[in-house]
Symmetry: C2
Subunit: 443 residues, 2 copies
């Protein structure tokens, strides 16, 4: 967990303000949920591995008897008996709970923004924090590709506004993955394990994927069924042949021809048409907004091997890439089954999460240079009323003003102020008003 | 704990943005600390009653033995053995810890803004929340009245910017209170109890204060010393005479004459001069900023009976009032001893906290009316690419745009959009571009 000092905090708030402004412009509405959620809701099995990392809040007023009872089971401590609340580990479980609670107060299609911290008890390591901010947008109640088009258009616009032009989005569909694995001969039971392995493609390469799938087989080369080992040898052979075929993975330009080329022959028309329509819509929106890339150069890439880890995805999935870094800057997908877990009635939903912490690290400090920010240096014995009057007049004129009593080392002081975003300085003496000051640039 | 729906969340964010903008203009810098602090720091005795309301986070990986041991003491459960972290219950303890950690990276005078949630395990009741936002500004490292003048000027300017003109600040000094109680004959041991009673003046009235002090005496009318009863009868008599003297409590205009009139005769010059200088500085700043109230009508009121509950105040104390409500909208004071608890070296500090939740409730919804916010109504079968292209063109032109598929009840839909801050609507049909739309006002 980190403290944020002034310069870093200001940078984070500027990035959040840009994201909020752009997503709001695209018709999304910000909501906020409490930091603590019910223990049972956090541990309902939706959050995958993240559930295990949830911080748990001690129930108040527990007596000794209750505490001893919680520790009585030799199978393990009954944390639930000690706690009824926990800190959220993501924003998706709270959103599903929020929607189930407030559905009657929301429109038929609800477009939400959430920008808020989440907590995971990770082991401390570089770039991993126990408290970090997530920025999620979600569209609940729209089963059509219009929702994906709105999500992706808004996210690309936001990246542009942050000065991260040139970003692209890899896209796939879980139904395409399922169909593809079916076509190679994998069974439905083998599918989750195979997807976990394919998800490592970027890390271990195609050969690594095939080896891992082979190693998971039983010694006789036969499939061992769920929990018993890996997938069948024939299916792995078919998959290997497809994976290692001599073809680039850069299926550009995005469109039906390239999507069909990227998949085994005979891909279902409905899935392909869905992916094509999303691309056309994003392209049309980019062109209408005057983006230079236009329809022909839309920043979408179809990736038939994109998996995305979470178990709850049911359709389109996407991942945000930028040429400056080799890790993803965000991602998301369609999760039509999850809201139903809380509401008791299925509602379609699709979400996109920007990797806020990664993007903040990537962006250079971009202090708002348009505003005038003045360091007002004064002597110790200048009457307070005179001093604050000069300051107040400058503030009323639109400036940001920091008072500094003249130190021995003025240079160090001004350097610190520049790091905090101040752009100029002036000395104020007895009898001077704001109009008398000589304001000089800091540089 | 509450969910915030779009309209309420937008209102909260607008208020926060105004506060941030004004305090930054006055030279304060925003910082952020983690939501969880070390258990021992939260329970160091600084937070008064709020400490007892802190939420405690369960230590991870506790085994049954450790849990049973925590419950073994008949005197009570050892919460500390179950926990090493807790949720902050205020922003002052984290600020003191932050300053002690980062002092070398901060200027000689550090002006901080903190706007963040805190948690208290209050019993749920109207207007009391278990998670609520505090907005604190603090100046650390300036022992002079310049700090008070900056705090109060910035806070009054912020209130003005929020549309809460007409606010006023009641001011007193703990040293004036101490001197006054001394002069009536209360002992230093009796003082804390007497201050707690005086703090109830607004609730129970002068007669109630005197009765309470009398009831705390022993049956012989003699002082019973610390812990044994109330203050001495002679001191209570002297205080009663002063408290009930026939004089208004509205000591205006603010200045030396009125401050001396409000106190018993012979008040120490240094304390009076300190209070007078703060008033002159705030008045000069208000006049220089062009406030209509000017120097003669500065919104300060000296209140010799203002106490402010927290035990850590050492000098000036203040409370923010507004004519529209009979409760305080914020307050603060000087706490020169507290930073030393963490740093091992005394550093002067003074802070002011705006009652964010109260102010949000007070302000009417003030959606930013300058931006164009358009509901774009479309038929179900309009091609997605056409639709999102029209939306993108409007967004690129500076509007905020929400798509809505034409419902049976268009009126209800438009009313909901108006509540969310949308100002106009248009229908879009096949073949239309953004330029073809007839945009009509929502009202």
């Amino acid at each position: 967990m980190r403290d944020f000092l002034p310069a870093e905090k200001a940078r984070r708030e500027r990035v959040l303000a840009v994201i909020r402004d752009r997503y709001r412009a695209h018709g999304f509405d910000e909501i906020e949920t409490p930091v603590m959620e019910d223990y049972d809701r956090l541990h309902a099995g939706i959050g995958g591995d993240n559930e295990k990392l949830a911080f748990t809040v001690l129930k108040r007023g527990l007596d000794a008897e209750a505490i001893v009872a919680a520790a009585a089971d030799p199978a393990g401590v009954d944390t639930r008996a000690l706690s009824d609340l926990g800190l959220r580990y993501d924003l998706t479980v709270p959103l599903a709970r929020f929607y189930a609670t407030h559905r009657a107060e929301l429109g038929a299609v609800f477009r939400s923004i959430q920008m808020a911290p989440v907590w995971r008890a990770e082991r401390p390591q570089k770039g991993r924090y126990r408290q970090f901010v997530q920025c999620d947008i979600d569209i609940i109640g729209d089963a059509t590709g219009r929702a994906e088009a709105e999500l992706l258009t808004a996210s690309l616009d936001t990246l542009d506004a942050l000065g991260l032009e040139g970003g692209s989005i890899r896209i796939n569909d879980r139904r395409a993955l399922d169909w593809m694995l079916d076509s190679f001969g994998f069974t439905a039971e083998e599918r989750p394990g195979v997807l976990i392995t394919i998800d490592k493609l970027d890390k271990i390469g195609p050969a690594g994927v095939v080896t891992t799938l082979r190693q998971a087989q039983g010694p006789d080369g036969q499939a061992q069924g769920p929990g018993g080992g890996g997938p069948g040898a024939a299916a792995v052979d078919a998959f290997e042949k497809f994976l290692l075929r001599p073809q680039t993975r850069e299926y550009r330009p995005y469109g039906e021809g390239q999507i069909r080329k990227a998949l085994p022959e005979g891909a279902p028309d409905a899935i392909v048409a869905h992916l094509v329509a999303i691309g056309e819509a994003v392209g049309a929106a980019r062109a209408a907004a005057g983006s230079e890339s236009g329809v022909s150069g839309i920043p979408l890439v179809f990736d038939p091997f994109l998996v995305r880890g979470m178990g709850y995805y049911t359709g389109t999935i996407f991942e945000l890439a930028h040429p400056s870094v080799d890790y993803s800057l965000g991602g998301g997908g369609r999760y039509d089954g999850m809201i139903g877990r809380f509401l008791g009635q299925d509602v379609p939903a699709v979400g996109f999460s920007i990797g806020f912490e990664r993007i903040v690290d990537l962006l250079e400090s971009t202090e708002d240079a348009t505003a005038s920010a003045i360091v007002l240096v004064h002597d110790r014995d200048l009457p307070v009323a005179e001093l604050v009057a000069v300051k107040a007049a400058l503030v009323a004129g639109g400036a940001r003003v920091r008072l500094e009593q003249r130190p021995k080392n003025l240079k160090a002081l001004l350097e610190r102020a520049a790091a905090d975003g101040y752009t100029s300085f002036a000395s104020v003496g007895a009898g001077q008003t704001a109009g008398d000051l000589q304001i000089k640039p800091l540089d």
